[in-house]
Structure formats: C-alpha cells, structure tokens
C-alpha cells in the first residue's frame, strides 16, 4: 500500500494518526517519549498559534517544522493573549500525525474544565501534556479578564498523574480508560529565588513531571549552575531536561523582551553582541546556535526546546547548523501512494459539475 513512502521510525504502520504500540516502562503512546527514553537528543518547537478559524494556517505553520523537530508545542494563550486554543491546534495536528505537546495553563480554566480537556486531548491522540501556571492576565491583550488559577502547575501535574496512574478524577470518580500521557512541566532557572529553583524542580518531579522545558536561556553559566544543583539532587533519573532557546531578532527586541515578557533574563553582554553586529537578525540566529552548542554538552541536558516566535522559518536552519540531531531525521509527514489516490478521487468529486438535480435522478431511476 505505501510502497513509495520511506520507512519512518516510531510510526504506526496502520496509519500515521494512530497511536504507537505501548512499550514497557513508557507512560504514553507518543514519539517524544520514545526519542527521549532511547537517549537521543530531542528537539521540540513552539507553534505560533493563529488568530484565525482557518485550519490551513495551523497546517502551514506546522509544515515548516517537518523533519526537524520531535514534538510541537501547542501553546495555551501564551502571555495571556487570545489565540486559537491549544486543544483545537492539537486536534488538527494529531489528525495529520504530528506529535504534539498540549500546553495547559491554569489561568483560564478551573479543575473541572482542565480534567475534561485532558481526557479529550488524550482521546485525540495527544501523547504529551505540559502543565503550566500561566502568565498573569495583566501581561496580555485582555487585562480585564478574570484570572482563574484554581490549580497551580504543581497540583495540575498531580491531577493529571492521578488521572493517568490511578484511573480516576481528582474527586475519586473512576475513568474507564485513563489518559496515556507523558507529563511535562516548565522550569525557569533564571528567576529568583535562585536557591529554591532546583528544589522546585524536585517538587515538580515528585508531583509527576517526566520532562521539563526551560525558559529562554541566554545566560549559560547560570543554567550550568542550575543543572549542577539538579544533578546534586539526583533528579535526572526521573526527568528529562530540555533547555529553552530562541533567536533574538534584534537588540531592540531583546530589550523589549527583557522589560515586558515575564521571566525572561537576558544579560547585557548578549545585547551588546547583537548591537555590535552588522546584521542583527543573522547574529541573533548565530547566538542561538552558539548557545545550543554550549548547553548540549552540559551533563543532563536531554534536548532543546526552540521558541522562535515569528521566526519559525529559522528553526530548521538552527537545528541543522547546530547539528544536534547528529544525522537523525525526526518523523516527517509525507504523502503516501494511497493519499495521492484519495486526493485524485476527491478532486473528481469536488470539481465534476453535475447538471442533474436530485429530482431528475429520481425520475430517471423510476423510468
């Protein structure tokens, strides 16, 4: 059936949108967990959610990551700005076979809504859930909204873990099929209180985190110190750490981000480097690659999470030039022989003009 389609690692032969076979010791049926547990250096990226009801905008934005990333983060109104919902994006992407990381933030929904979304997402084939607290509403385009924060990131992790491992809701009511998800959380090693940050990761691991994605890392020595503390606490046996990276478009953007995006720490020497460059955008990309090359050698770093907001087209270049995949090609969506057949047939159905009305057809059939 699929003779022209190259063999892909980690794919269900019966259909790209179907879950994989369960493996012992794995908690999800997804590809990201397989890549991480095999010990490969994972790459994830963030999809910029469209302000649109058009599914093709999501597909287009996902297509530029094809063959370069192991998981796509569907962000949940990041920075408290309204966009297409993360569940909606995941619904579209899982249909196409992408490995998605559903972000859930506690800002907009209470525990009733969140537990329902977890079940719905898992039913659609979402294999990874990232549990976040969420930015405050003051950061976004609707500062008059009511902040919910019924759960926090920690209790959200614990809630989903209870649903998965004990097959019940937080209330104790039973689930007939628990959601098989790989649980993630966020870390920010660059914000005070610095002594507490590693302990906070320990708490997240105790609450159920299996992988963590970091905030933008522009201060590698600080990240290295943090990883040292994490190693000393012995957390790396239970959690995979993905360091957050991203290109800066210019020194002006960097200054703006430092002042306006909560929790982003950019040292002065980074801004000075950008300012001194002739082509600031190219230098921003170069800086990002340099940082990836530095962090990938820190013991305990299992991957990178590339957040190239509005510069998504650079993700492929950044991943390629930093060489983190070591020649490996992550899952790539490719048309199969039968897909082409279906497309042709659809074309025929859609574009053949039918001049007969239903009444004429009935008349003909009667005669």
């Amino acid at each position: 059936m699929s003779t022209h389609r190259p063999v892909q690692p980690d794919e269900n032969p019966a259909g790209i949108d179907l879950p994989l076979d369960p493996l012992p010791g794995h908690s999800s049926l997804g590809r990201l967990e397989r890549v991480l547990r095999r010990g490969e250096f994972a790459v994830t990226a963030e999809l910029n959610p469209p302000d649109s009801a058009n599914p093709h905008e999501v597909y287009e934005r996902a297509a530029i990551f094809d063959g370069w990333v192991d998981g796509i983060n569907a962000v949940d109104a990041s920075g408290a700005n309204c966009h297409m919902s993360s569940v909606g994006i995941c619904a579209l992407l899982t249909r196409m076979g992408y490995a998605t990381i559903l972000q859930i933030s506690c800002r907009d929904r209470n525990r009733i809504a969140i537990q329902g979304d977890v079940l719905g997402a898992a039913a659609m084939g979402v294999g990874n859930i990232l549990c976040l607290t969420g930015d405050g509403v003051q950061a976004g385009d609707q500062p008059g909204a009511k902040p919910v924060f019924d759960l926090d990131s920690m209790s959200l992790l614990e809630t989903v873990r209870i649903m998965r491992d004990k097959a019940k809701f937080l209330s104790g009511r039973k689930l007939s099929t628990p959601p098989a998800v790989f649980l993630g959380a966020a870390i920010n090693p660059f914000a005070p209180p610095h002594d507490f940050r590693a302990h906070r990761l320990a708490k997240k691991v105790a609450a159920g985190a299996q992988f963590v994605q970091g905030q933008y890392c522009y201060d590698v020595p600080m990240f290295r110190d943090y990883m040292q503390k994490v190693r000393d606490l012995g957390l790396l046996e239970d959690v995979f750490v993905l360091c957050g990276v991203g290109p800066l478009a210019s020194a002006r953007t960097a200054r703006w981000m430092r002042a306006n995006v909560p929790g982003v720490h950019i040292p002065d020497h980074v801004i000075a480097r950008l300012e001194g460059a002739a082509d600031q955008k190219a230098e921003g990309k170069r800086l990002c690659i340099d940082i990836i090359n530095e962090v990938k050698d820190i013991p305990g770093v299992s991957g990178v999470h590339v957040m190239a907001y509005r510069q998504e087209e650079y993700v492929a270049e950044i991943v390629h030039e930093s060489g983190v995949l070591k020649g490996r090609t992550p899952w790539k969506r490719e048309a199969r022989a039968d897909d082409v057949m279906v497309a042709e047939r659809l074309e025929h159905i859609l574009h053949d003009e039918s001049s007969e009305t239903p009444q004429q057809i009935v008349k003909e059939a009667a005669n």
């Binding site: 607290t133 019924d150 937080l170 870390i187 920010n188 909560p262």
Partner: protein, 195 residues
C-alpha cells in the same frame, strides 16, 4: 499607518480611555486587589522562627481546650474564633481566609497573597529584583516564603507538594479545623487504631 489603526485591541482602548479621565484609581491592580502596605507581612516573614514557636504553642493550647470546644460545640465556637482569627491573621499575614492555612509550610508568608494564588512555589515570572510579575511594587510572596522558611526549624515543609485549595472551605476557621483533626488523630492513637 493603516496597520496602526487596524491594530486597536481592547487593551489599548482601555489604556487610552484611562488616560483621558481625571480619576484613575491608584490602589487597584488589574486583579482588583486592594494593595496594602506590606510592612506587617514582611515583619512576620522576618520573624518566622518566633511565629513558628508561637503557632506551635497555640496549636497545643487549642488542642488542650478541645473538651471545652466540644462542650461549647465547634459550630457555636466558630463565629467568635473566626472573628479573632481573621483579625489576627489579617494583621500579621494579610490573611485571605482560605480556611486551610499552610503558613508553616510557606515560611509564614501567606500564599493567597500571590496574585496567582500559587501554593507550591514561585512562578517563572519573578522579576530580577525579587518583585512580583503582576504587581511590580510587591515583593514576591514566594521569594519571601523561601527566606522565611530558611529561618524556621521545620522550614523544609516548603518542599512538600500542597493539594489544590478547597474553595468550599473559604471563610471558615482553619484553627478550629486543625484542632478538631488533631483531636481525632489523638483519639485514634489512644484507641490503638491505625490511622
């Protein structure tokens, strides 16, 4: 230019309208939270060790009074105890009467004062100077909690994962609940039953 006019969001409209008016409320944040002076709260964190001892003493005293509470009836005792509790904790910690006090696990810094009401540690948005992301003038509740917990004898309780807040317990007395629970625990132990 056309792009500029097209990019009017609700937020920009609110901001523009606010600038036009003569009266702008000074003491409210986007969370509609009346800002208070933080000095008492910060004093409490600085004296976390002392308050921890005081709290332990009062917890024991309340437990000793368990027969009294029972005789009066916990339900009848609630109103006056809550009256005192609300004012004492309100003064010392800016208490929000969530009804499930975790001060001993949070370095005597009340986590309900966090605009996100986080009960398990600071969010990633803490500013470099240790202030809150949402309210730039307020020291982060959790930065203070970490400082307070380092001074306390049982400060490592900050490392345990807290359950989500039970909203149905709001505006009830945490002191009486803890006392009743401790009394029940003690009775179970006396009866030799496993907890």
């Amino acid at each position: 230019m056309a792009e500029h006019t097209a990019k009017v969001t609700l937020a920009t409209r609110i901001r523009k309208a606010a600038a036009r008016k003569d009266y702008r409320p000074a003491d409210v944040s986007p969370q509609r939270r009346v800002q208070r002076r933080y000095s008492m709260r910060l004093w409490s964190v600085r004296h976390a060790r002392f308050l921890e001892r005081l709290y332990n003493f009062f917890a024991d005293a309340f437990l000793l009074l368990h027969p009294f509470w029972k005789a009066v009836g916990y339900a009848r005792a609630e109103a006056p105890v809550k009256f005192v509790e609300k004012r004492v904790k309100g003064l010392l910690f800016d208490c929000r009467m969530c009804g499930q006090c975790v001060l001993s696990s949070t370095g005597m810094s009340c986590p309900m004062n966090c605009p996100k009401q986080l009960r398990n540690g600071p969010c990633g948005g803490v500013r470099a100077n240790g202030n809150c992301e949402v309210e730039p003038d307020m020291p982060c509740v959790w930065v203070k909690a970490w400082e307070g917990s380092r001074a306390m004898a049982g400060g490592d309780a900050i490392l345990t994962v807290q359950k989500p807040v039970d909203q149905s317990l709001r505006e009830t007395s945490a002191w009486l609940r803890v006392t009743a629970e401790a009394a029940a625990e003690r009775e179970r132990e006396r009866a030799g039953e496993p907890a």
